[in-house]
Amino acid sequence: MRTEIVTEIILLAKRDKRLVFLTGDLGFNAFEHLREILGKRFINAGVAEQNMIDVAAGMARMGLHPWVYSIAPFLTLKAFEQVRNNICHPNLPVKFLGNGGGYGYGIMGETHHALEDVAIFSALPNIKIFAPAFKEDIPSIVKIMSLSKTPSYARLNLLQTSGIKKFRYGKLRKIREGKKLTVIVLGYLVHNVLKGLESLRQTNAVDLWCVTEIPFTLSTPLLNSLRSTKKLLIIEEHGFSGGLGEKILAKLMKKKMNINTFSHLFARGYHSGLYGSHTFHLKENHLDVKGISRQITRML
C-alpha cells in the first residue's frame, strides 16, 4: 500500500509547496523517488519518533503541511503524549501514516503490531482515523487528509482492488446487499469477508457494510438494515477495548436498537503464545476467510 500512497503524495507535493514528509528512518524500496522529488522537504528524522512528531507539530503551527510516516505502533504508542499535547489538543493538521494496522507486520512480532491504535487515537480530540478498505480508497483518503484542517491518521495495510465498477469512496459504505444478517467490517478486512461470502450457499443473505473513517455516524440505511435483520456481526482487526465494536454498540444503545443476535470477531492478542505471518494471526483470531465464513454461517 505504500506504493499507492507514495504515488498520491508525489502528485500532491508537486502542487503543494508547503508539503513536508517526515519518516522515522523507514521507507527502503518505497520512498527513494519521493525523497528525490521532495528534496529538502523530505526529512529522515531518524529513529527518534517523539522528536519527529513534535517537529511536525512545530511545522504545522508555522503553516507547513507535514506528513509523518512510521510503523503504526511507533506513532500511536511511543509518541502518544506528543500526539496528544502538541497535535490533537492544539488541533494541528498533521497527517500520520501508520503502516501495519493490526497484525500487518506478521512475524516481526507484537512490538510491530497495532491492535490498539484505533482505541488510542479515537480517545483524542479532533483527530480523524482512516482505515482504507480498497486500493481505490487511497486517492480519496490522501485528498481528504491533505485538505483537512484537523489531525488525521491512516491505518495502512496491504490492499486489493474492489472490482466494483462504479466505485465510490465512503466513510461507511454498503458493499453487498442482503436480508438475513448485517455485517460491519473495519477497513481492508472487507476482502476476507467478500471471499468468505463466495463460499456461502445462500446468496443475498449478508448485508455487508464497511467502515473506513472514525468517527462516523450510523446511517439510516444501516439502521434500517439492522431493524430488518436483527442480527449483527462486527469484524475488526483490532482489540475489543475502544475498537469498532464498542463504538457501534454504544451508538446502537443510544438509538435503542433491538438486536436479537450479536457477535464480534476481533483481535484477541496472543492467546496461543505462538507467532507467525499476518495470515497466521488472522487465522488464530478467526479473522481469516474461513473463520469469518464459519461465523457468518453460524449466524444465518
Binding site: 522528536n51 513534535d54 512545530g58 503551527r61 507535514p66 502538541n86
Partner: protein, 290 residues
C-alpha cells in the same frame, strides 16, 4: 550595536551594577518585574516560585532586548510560566485583571502554559522534554518558508538543566545539528536543582558544555542573572552567524533574588505566606534600590 528599545520602562539613569551595556535593563525595571512576579505568586498561592525566579532575567533580556518581531519563543520548562505571564503583561499582551486571574478557577492562565495565548505561546507545555523538538520544527519551517535572499527568523527555547534528563531533548539535539538549524538558540536555565534533588545527584550534569558540544552545538556559557552578559552572548552569536544550533548554558540560582529561597529545593513547592512575602519584597527593594 543599535538596539531597538521596546522597553517603555527602561530608564538609562537607573542602571544595574557591573554592566557593560549601560541601560540595557534598568535596575528599577528589574525590581518592578521581580516584585510583580512575587506579588502574583503570593496572591495566587502558587508553587514553582524558585523555578520562576531563576529564569526571570533570561526572559527579560529575551523579550525586552533580544527578540525580533518574527522570532518565536518556546518555554519548555512550563512550570516557570508565572515569569512569562509577568513579562507578557509588561509587554501589554494582557490586562492586569487577566494576569491576576492566574492559578484561579476559570482562568486562561493555568500553572503551566496554555497554548496560543495571544500567539505569544505557540504550544502548551508542562510535560518536560517537548520544547526543543517543537522549536526544531519551528526553526526548520522558518528556513523553508524564508526566501533565499532573506534571513530566517530565530527560535529561542528555554529548557531547564533537570529537563535534560529527558531522552527527547537529545533526540532533538541530534536533529538540530544534523539539520543545521543555525536559527535555533537553546537557553538552559541551569539552576542545578530539580524537583527532588540536585541535578548532580539525580542523573548527573546533563547540561554540561561537553555534552552539548559533543552533540554538535555551538556552546556558550554566561551568568543568567546578568542581563548585559546574556545580551553580549546573543550579540556574539549574531556576529558569528553560523549554521550550527546554539546553546547558552545560563548559570542561575533557583529562587534568585530572595535570600531565603536561593538554592533551596523546597521553593519548588512552598507558597508565600504574608510574612515571607513582605520579607521577599523588602529584599528586592534593597537589592535594586540604587
Amino acid at each position: 550595536m543599535q538596539r531597538k528599545n521596546n522597553n517603555s520602562y527602561n530608564n538609562a539613569n537607573e542602571s544595574i551594577k557591573n554592566h557593560n551595556y549601560p541601560g540595557l535593563i534598568s535596575a528599577a525595571f528589574r525590581a518592578k518585574l521581580y516584585k510583580e512576579l512575587l506579588t502574583l505568586l503570593y496572591k495566587a498561592n502558587s508553587e514553582h516560585i524558585g523555578s520562576s525566579l531563576s529564569c526571570l532575567d533570561i526572559l527579560t533580556v529575551l523579550f525586552f532586548s533580544e527578540m525580533g518581531k518574527a522570532d518565536k519563543f518556546i518555554l519548555s520548562k512550563g512550570h516557570a510560566v508565572p515569569s512569562l505571564y509577568v513579562i507578557l503583561y509588561f509587554m501589554g499582551k494582557m490586562s492586569r485583571a487577566t494576569l491576576y486571574s492566574f492559578h484561579k478557577d476559570g482562568t486562561t492562565l493555568p500553572a503551566h502554559p496554555p497554548q496560543n495565548l495571544d500567539r505569544s505561546i505557540p504550544f502548551h507545555s508542562g510535560s518536560l522534554g517537548h520544547g526543543l523538538s517543537l522549536s526544531c520544527g519551528i526553526a526548520e519551517s522558518m528556513r523553508l518558508l524564508t526566501p533565499k535572499n532573506k534571513k530566517a527568523a530565530r527560535v529561542y527555547c528555554l529548557i531547564s538543566d533537570g529537563e535534560c534528563n529527558e531522552g527527547q531533548v537529545w533526540e532533538a539535539a541530534q536533529y538540530a545539528t544534523k539539520r543545521q538549524l543555525g536559527n535555533l538558540i537553546v537557553l538552559i536555565d541551569k539552576n542545578k536543582l530539580q524537583a527532588f534533588g540536585r541535578t548532580s545527584d539525580v542523573l548527573g550534569d546533563s547540561a554540561s558544555v561537553e555534552k552539548w558540544k559533543s552533540f554538535g552545538f555551538e556552546t556558550y556559557s554566561c551568568n543568567g542573572h546578568k542581563p548585559e552578559e546574556l545580551q553580549k552572548t546573543f550579540d556574539t552569536i549574531r556576529s558569528r552567524n553560523t549554521m550550527k544550533p546554539k546553546v547558552i548554558i545560563c548559570d542561575t540560582i533557583k529562587g534568585f533574588g530572595v535570600s531565603f529561597m536561593e538554592n533551596k529545593l523546597e521553593w519548588h513547592y512552598h507558597r508565600l505566606t504574608d510574612e515571607l512575602y513582605k520579607k521577599a519584597m523588602k529584599e528586592i527593594d534593597a537589592r535594586y534600590e540604587n
